[in-house]
């Protein structure tokens, strides 16, 4: 199964490239929003990162469950790949958010539901990667990381709910799909989401390939 996933990278990569081209075009020709000006187009870079960021952590947990039940290392490699790629997309959300917010609304940051949850998710990712780094070399590193991946994912709904309770009004634009969006903007967003998911899949497959090679080298060395 790991083999197939790794080999799929070629096709996923090409698809991703095509989707990115479509997205870039649509983002370019999308109508400029009157209130915010052209800076609003950062949204097309900001929003599509969300699904891969959250999906990444869920897949980390899936990999963890897979490893703990089957004890096959390919599951653990999958979890690692999903985490390393997911944290990048998560970081992009946090970097692109302020770039958009400052010119658009005059503040660098605001503690609203979505941003706050994403910050916490980022910290959970980072904690997972630290655990992997510091437990590395110990035999139980893989089981421990798997456990943290699972427990971390269990906590995410609680985090979301808690942040919801804690935060007051939000400066964050409401969910675009709920309002009626002009067709140009909606199309650009949707194509972005598809493109970024494809890039995510491609990156995970490539990282998985590297992890597998690393494991093979370790084995040959002994």
């Amino acid at each position: 199964m790991e083999e197939r996933l790794i080999r799929s990278a070629r096709y996923t990569g090409l698809l991703a490239l095509a989707a990115l081209a479509v997205w870039a075009y649509l983002a370019w020709v999308a109508p400029v929003e009157k209130a915010q000006g052209v800076i609003q187009k950062i949204m097309y870079v900001h929003v599509p990162n969300v699904a891969p960021a959250y999906l990444g952590f869920v897949l980390t947990a899936v990999g963890g469950i897979g490893f703990l039940t089957t004890r096959r290392e390919e599951w653990d490699r999958f979890a690692l790949a999903a985490a390393e790629v997911g944290v990048v997309f998560c970081s992009l959300i946090l970097l692109s958010g302020p770039l958009w917010a400052k010119p658009a609304w005059g503040v660098w940051w605001v503690w609203d539901l979505r941003l706050t949850s994403t910050v916490v998710l980022w910290f959970i990712y980072v904690a997972y990667l630290f655990l992997r780094a510091f437990a590395a070399g110990s035999d139980s590193a893989r089981s421990f990381s798997s456990i943290y991946g699972i427990v971390g994912t269990l906590a995410i709904p609680f985090v979301y709910f808690a942040v919801d309770l804690a935060s007051g009004s939000t400066l964050h634009p409401t969910d675009p799909s709920r309002q009626g969006l002009p067709a140009g903007i909606a199309a650009a967003l949707r194509s972005g989401m598809i493109a970024f998911l494809l890039v995510f899949a491609w990156l995970v497959a490539r990282r998985l390939g590297v992890a597998r090679l690393e494991a093979l080298i370790e084995e040959r060395r002994s």
Binding site: V120, A127, D139, F144, I147, Y148, I150, G152, F158
Partner: protein
């Protein structure tokens, strides 16, 4: 008696005995908590009424940092003398060992909570009288949630490098919900004398889910 229950109570009793005999864990947590509260009471603006809105959250944050001292030493006795393999050899589902350990941590953390609350009453003029029972309920559920996830993560980090750094990094993002629920519930209790069902439910659910999670994965932690 069911083997698991017997093992859990044996572990709980043993941990309590160790705690009460050496008084390290409990003593250090008590002193640390007192230090922080004194610092706060000196440095917070004199208009205490303004600070009152922040008090419950502040108290829970102080308590969270204090609990780190205790949680990070949760498995010290086991790793020091090779007793981890003795525990691992218990003839029952190893999740019961987790329950025993988490139970001991729960009691220790509850004690620290009550101590911290008393300190806040003395140094920061918090009047617990109208809110004693609901606040106590929140304390119990908060301690349960913290003890369950804290014991689990303490076990994960017990043999890792940089344990003192790793445990808070692992714990804080996951314990945020308890921090929010508990400080809001405590604030409600102080203001109105009652806590909403939503908060009871959230705290209870958290404690329940992570106790179960700890029970089921502890097997994997005890094996090498």
């Amino acid at each position: 008696m069911n083997a698991g229950l017997r093992v859990a109570t044996a572990v709980l009793g043993k941990d309590l005995r160790l705690d009460l005999r050496s008084r390290d864990r409990l003593g250090h947590m008590a002193v640390f908590s007192a230090l922080v509260v004194v610092l706060l009471s000196i440095s917070l603006p004199a208009a205490k009424r303004a600070a009152a809105l922040w008090i419950p959250a502040l108290m829970w944050v102080v308590f969270l940092f204090t609990s780190l001292l205790g949680l990070s030493r949760s498995f010290l006795a086991e790793t020091a003398g090779g007793a981890l393999s003795t525990l691992a050899g218990a003839p029952c589902d190893r999740g019961w060992v987790f329950l025993g350990k988490a139970g001991a941590n729960f009691l220790a953390l509850l004690g620290v909570e009550l101590w911290t609350a008393a300190l806040f009453a003395v140094f920061l003029d918090v009047d617990w009288a109208p809110a004693v029972w609901p606040a106590l309920g929140v304390a119990l559920l908060g301690a349960a949630g913290l003890a369950s996830i804290g014991t689990l993560l303490s076990a994960l980090s017990a043999t890792a490098r940089f344990r003192e750094f790793l445990l808070p990094v692992l714990l804080f993002p996951l314990i945020l919900p308890v921090l929010v629920f508990a400080s809001q519930a405590t604030a409600d209790a102080l203001a109105t004398g009652a806590v909403s069902g939503l908060h009871w439910g959230a705290l209870g659910l958290y404690a329940w889910i992570f106790t179960l999670a700890g029970y089921f994965v502890f097997d994997q932690i005890l094996e090498d």
